[in-house]
Amino acid sequence: MDVIIENLPLYWNGFLRTLFLSAVSGIFALILGTLLAAARVSPVAALRGFSTVYVEVLRNTPLTIAFFFAAVVLPRIGVKFEQFEIAAIIALSTYTAAFIAEAVRSGVNSVPVGQAEAARSIGMKFGQVLSLIILPQALRTVIPPLINILIALVKNSSVAGAFFVLELFGYGRQMANANGDAVITVLLGTAFFYLLLTVPLGILANTVERKVAIAR
């Protein structure tokens, strides 16, 4: 127990860094993912094709490969980062956006056909149909899966710890190496801080799911 109390400032720093990485990547991923979903259902064939290929490739890329590309390969071929956080945010948000795009698309498909037909019959264009009628309803139904994706994002941010970013996992590994006699305690402490983020989000997802289910 003493190890955890002694290292509390390190845990706290790591926790804040994990929170920061997850929040920034989450926001970028939500925006990019929604745009990709919109492109996927748009009338323009090139956009549909691009979105399909992007989602298919990124969803099937292991996150470690994405990180390795952003943090090791990119700098060697000339794209230099001031801080590795930027590489981590690029890897996390481009990866997560693919999953968000899929979730939002399934939400768009779940909106009753009559909604889009009604919108078109009063003369709305595609952009209006999507942004005013379909997406507000679609996003509502996909909030629970979106929260689950964000939970996965928090957990995935731990991979950044292996690519030169000192967040919760990075500090955890450092402390585990420094305190060889109390490895299990140190890592359980790290796990506790992750659960501090993921468990409340999971409860939130369940609550929202129940509320939406009642509303429908």
């Binding site: 064939a45 292991p62 999953f99 149909v129 796990a191």
Partner: protein, 279 residues
């Protein structure tokens, strides 16, 4: 392709859409060309950098890495699925003494990053990297499998279990003979999608120094010189993505086949949403 989201395009809209498509395609091609030019300036495409692929030992090392990746994934999947089934049965047990602690354990396992679990096993129990990777994958994925199967059982009509109990089956027999077969079939797309996640997660072995595909890339780049990093990485990433896409295609195929068969009775349990929920 017509969609409910927009009117069937007329001649003018089709022309605009065609122009937009061409411009979009040109933009993407331009971006690709720019990337290729930048890479070419770094000398990435010089023949000598790619000549290493004529060497048999490079392919042998890549093959070894791929073998390690697939071995870890296969062993983890084979252990995780039955374990997940068991955890699921305990999680929905009638006895609260079993059900409640099980729920806490599953929340714990699902809420932790897999890589932290691998490191925990590696350092905490001093195992080999292989065992750490497999055990980490097994623990996490068994918990996810348990939740998927539970969702499947709960999506069944209540009458299934009631009928089972009414004809005198025990609770356990009703689960095994009536509910599980339906639940697993219903959840097949999600289960296969989770298998893809498991396969992808083997790449986390890189972090705990397990000699999988990405680690092989790193080792070769360190050994042969960093100028070979890009070619080797490119080939390894292509192998990884190709395997994952094939397994994902298999999942889609199983889903289509399942929903065709299920047209007679069972409903589909939102595989889209569930699949997307487990990156």
């Amino acid at each position: 392709m017509s969609s409910v989201l927009y009117d069937v395009p007329g001649p003018k809209a089709r022309r605009i859409s065609l122009i937009a498509s061409i411009v979009g395609a040109l933009l993407i091609l331009g971006l690709l060309a720019w990337i290729v030019m930048t890479l070419a300036q770094q000398g990435i495409f010089e023949a000598r950098r790619w000549q290493i692929f004529t060497r048999a030992d490079v392919w042998r090392l890549l093959g070894n890495g791929l073998g390690s990746t697939l071995a870890a994934a296969a062993i983890a999947a084979v252990i995780a699925f039955p374990l997940g089934l068991l955890l699921c049965l305990l999680r929905i047990s009638d006895a609260a003494v079993i059900r409640v602690p099980m729920r806490v354990i599953l929340e714990f396992l699902r809420g932790m990053p897999v890589v932290l679990m691998m490191l925990f096993i590696l350092l905490g129990f001093g195992t080999s990297a292989f065992i750490a990777v497999v055990a980490g994958l097994v623990l996490y994925n068994a918990a996810v499998f348990a939740e998927i199967i539970r969702a499947g059982i709960q999506s069944l009509p209540r009458g299934q279990r009631e009928a089972g109990l009414a004809i005198g089956l025990t609770s356990y027999k009703s689960r095994m003979l009536i509910e599980l077969p339906q639940a697993i079939r219903r959840m097949m797309p999600s289960l296969v999608a989770q298998m893809v996640v498991l396969l992808k997660d083997t790449s986390l072995g890189y972090i705990v120094a397990y000699g999988e595909l990405l680690r092989a890339v790193q080792v070769m780049a360190d050994f042969l010189g960093t100028q070979y990093l890009f070619p080797i990485f490119f080939v390894a990433a292509a192998i990884y993505i190709a395997i994952n896409i094939s397994v994902s295609r298999l999942a889609v195929w199983i889903e289509r086949r399942g929903s065709k068969k299920a047209a007679g009775g069972t409903a589909k349990a939102e595989p889209d949403v569930l699949e997307a929920a487990a990156p």
